[in-house]
């Protein structure tokens, strides 16, 4: 009994700081897990710069954030995709005017094992590889080697993004190996000869080779890097959005100004995302 009391007391004590800081929060950000590390860094730096300003950042997925915006439980919804027609209509029904701001870009690189001789592919070739229509590297001009497709888990936003932008909304081949984290994709591609996978450009390193990609049927191939993503030459790039309602504008404007300033965009670059300019 005594122990239970002590444990209860401990729990209460641990919650105290959380409770007191919760009262200080003036701005809530919720949504996409892709944006999460970036928003957290923004909140951290901004909080240091302007002591007393509390920003709480929560993940959960883009859909969760937008649903929270609709139910007034967040001030900003962070999203790794544009608002869907469906969500726009719901906002409309609730009588909310929603403002959209692009805060940064995120680019995906298609990666293979460094021993692979292939260094560029077209979108059509990528589609047939990831949907399983092409199963050997020699079919796209490489060596005679079985293609091993690596993907993220079906629940990940990166999976959806890749499916929509590269595979024309078609499904991945069922023999694709689904990895729980981007780090695992990097590890597996680096040690598997016939592997192909996709990772955010922040994860590129020397153990894996990033492919040049062409979205105009092989006329121009573009290297995935920050410069090309910034100039929009590299096609597998997606904007990251903040959505907010008209009512909260005054509350979030200082934070937005900070994010869009050169100082904020430096954080974007440092965190491995692509700055706006």
């Amino acid at each position: 009994m005594k122990k239970t009391l002590v444990a209860l007391g401990l729990v209460v004590c641990m919650m105290m700081p959380a409770l007191s800081s919760a009262q200080k929060v003036v701005c809530k950000i919720k949504g996409s897990d892709t944006c999460l590390p970036l928003s957290q860094k923004f909140a951290e730096v901004y909080g240091k710069k302007f002591p007393g300003s509390g920003i709480s950042v929560v993940g959960g997925g883009s859909g969760v954030g937008l649903a929270a915006l609709l139910s007034n439980t967040t001030d900003i919804a962070q999203s790794s995709r544009k608002m869907k027609m469906d969500e726009k209509l719901k906002m409309q029904e609730a009588g909310k005017k929603v403002k959209e701001v692009i805060i940064a870009y995120d680019a995906l690189a298609v990666v293979v094992n460094p021993d692979n001789k292939i260094s560029q592919l077209t979108r059509e070739q990528l589609e047939s590889i990831f949907t399983g229509k092409v199963t050997n590297w020699k079919q796209v001009g490489g060596q005679d080697l079985k293609i091993i497709v690596y993907s993220r888990e079906t629940s990940s936003g990166t999976y959806e993004f890749f499916k929509e932008h590269v595979m024309n909304k078609k499904n991945f081949v069922s023999s694709a190996l689904l990895m729980a984290a981007t780090g695992a994709v990097v590890q597996s591609v680096s040690q598997t000869k016939g592997a192909i996978g996709y990772v955010g450009i922040a994860y590129l390193e020397k153990d894996i080779k990033a492919l040049k990609v062409s979205y105009d049927k092989g006329k121009t191939f573009v290297t995935p890097n920050v410069e090309n993503a910034m100039s929009r030459k590299y096609p597998i790039t997606r904007p990251l959005y903040y959505y907010m309602t008209g009512a909260a504008t005054a509350k979030v404007t200082p934070l937005l100004n900070f994010i869009l300033s050169s100082e904020g965009q430096k954080i974007v670059l440092a965190e491995g995302y692509v700055p706006l300019s």
């Binding site: 997925g61 027609m85 469906d86 726009k88 209509l89 409309q92 949907t131 080697l145 079985k146 091993i148 888990e153 079906t154 629940s155 990940s156 959806e160 024309n168 909304k169 078609k170 499904n171 069922s174 023999s175 694709a176 190996l177 689904l178 990895m179 729980a180 695992a184 590890q187 597996s188 040690q191 598997t192 000869k193 016939g194 592997a195």
Partner: protein, 396 residues
């Protein structure tokens, strides 16, 4: 005196309540699992609140979810492949509406959407439209397309697992069941002989000093978090298997079962060692006195005596292997395909639940399908336990 009796009553009461609460909790969890899982067979695999519709002249009334998936995947491109006219299939979703018509036409509050959906569907005889049911036009010229409900048979024998595919998700769990069984059986195949041999060695042959050293080391194995096993497997075991067998990919059922085997070892070793050591010394001495050698005594007297304890050890080992999630998730590659050999990637049921439950919308079809997977896992373990129980009583 009275006080003591009261105290005893009180203690009994506590014992009774705690065991009742435990039993009820277990029953509640099982009930919750079944209730959520069974619901899967009452829904259609098309997302709630969405409609599939065809042009009025299209004779097709119903499609299976597999046909629908193949159509939206571009594998079926002509209506005659699903029993219709010889026409190319045209796909249509609301997003495309905004590319065909201007925002102005759709209206400031999108009030004209139903009208244009009707307009577009009636103009294209080869269309298949997928849209939010709220925009279903009043005087619709086309007709709704029915998608058959998920049947138990389809669920258990289906070979495709695409839980998030739109418009029609695929819930075929056969590859997942096979993956789980393969990995578990292989793991047990590794773990039982090695575990038993080690247990016999430690209980009967090893000197006290060796035993004192080995036992904590083996028990330490049980204390390592499973994600560490998984990482070890991914970085060390997977490349090794790939090289030894000269495979295109190292993430295989074999890698998963070796890791699981290692993880089940400490349970099997410590529990069966305790069982072997609990054989009465008098029995062993009697056997030795009759002229049997040490090894004969172990084989014919001690081991038969410890049989039920060893069985318990094996059940516990299997229990750990079949439900293990994290380590398997990391080393088996998680491809939902039917396994043909142990040197191919597999996806297990626990890994699937762990990887997908967090993002599945609460109460949705995908959510229910994952609970149905939980039921299957529960039944597999239940059968396992009953089998071992049967063997145990037979041997007695």
């Amino acid at each position: 005196m009275k006080l003591r009796k009261l105290g005893e009553k009180f203690a009994e009461g506590i014992l009774f309540t705690s065991s009742t609460v435990t039993t009820l909790t277990v029953l509640f969890i099982v009930y919750f699992l079944f209730k959520s899982g069974i619901g899967l067979f009452n829904v259609r695999p098309v997302e709630e609140g969405y409609t599939l519709a065809l042009n009025g002249t299209n004779p097709i009334q119903e499609l299976s979810s597999k046909q629908l998936k193949d159509i939206f995947n571009g594998d079926i491109t002509n209506w005659k492949d699903v029993g219709g006219k010889d026409l190319d299939i045209q796909l249509f979703t609301l997003d495309e509406l905004s590319t065909v018509y201007t925002e102005e036409q759709l209206g400031a509050n999108f009030e004209n959407i139903p009208f244009y959906v009707n307009d577009y569907v009636s103009k294209n005889p080869n269309i298949i439209a997928f849209f939010d049911s709220r925009y279903f036009p009043k005087n619709f010229s086309g007709h709704k397309l029915n998608i058959s409900k998920i049947s138990v048979k389809e669920f258990l024998t289906g070979k495709e697992w695409y839980p998030t595919a739109t418009p029609a998700a695929q819930f075929g769990v056969l590859p997942l069941i096979m993956g789980t069984l393969w990995v578990t059986f292989l793991a047990i195949l590794f773990a039982i002989p090695i575990g038993l041999v080690t247990a016999i060695y430690m209980a009967e042959i090893a000197s006290e000093r060796v035993r004192r050293l080995m036992k904590p080391v083996i028990e330490l194995l049980a204390g390592i978090p499973s994600v560490v096993y998984g990482f070890f497997g991914l970085v060390v075991l997977v490349p090794m298997i790939q090289q030894v067998f000269n495979l295109p990919v190292g993430e295989t059922a074999l890698a998963g079962s070796i890791i699981l085997g290692i993880m089940a070892l400490p349970t099997i070793i410590t529990v069966s060692e305790d069982a072997i050591r609990s054989a009465p010394v008098a029995m062993k001495e009697a056997s030795l006195a009759l002229g049997a050698s040490h090894w004969q005594s172990v084989k014919y007297v001690v081991l038969p005596y410890a049989r039920s304890g060893i069985m318990a050890a094996i059940i516990l080992g299997i229990g750990r292997a079949i439900g293990e999630t994290m380590a398997v998730l990391m080393v088996t590659g998680n491809a939902a395909v039917m396994p043909h050999s142990i040197l191919e990637p597999v996806r297990t049921i626990p890994a699937t639940i762990a990887a997908e439950l967090g993002e599945a919308p609460f109460g949705g079809t995908h959510f229910k399908a994952l609970f149905a997977l939980g039921i299957i896992l529960f039944i597999i373990t239940f059968i396992f336990n009953s089998l071992v129980e049967m063997i145990k009583t037979k041997n007695k």
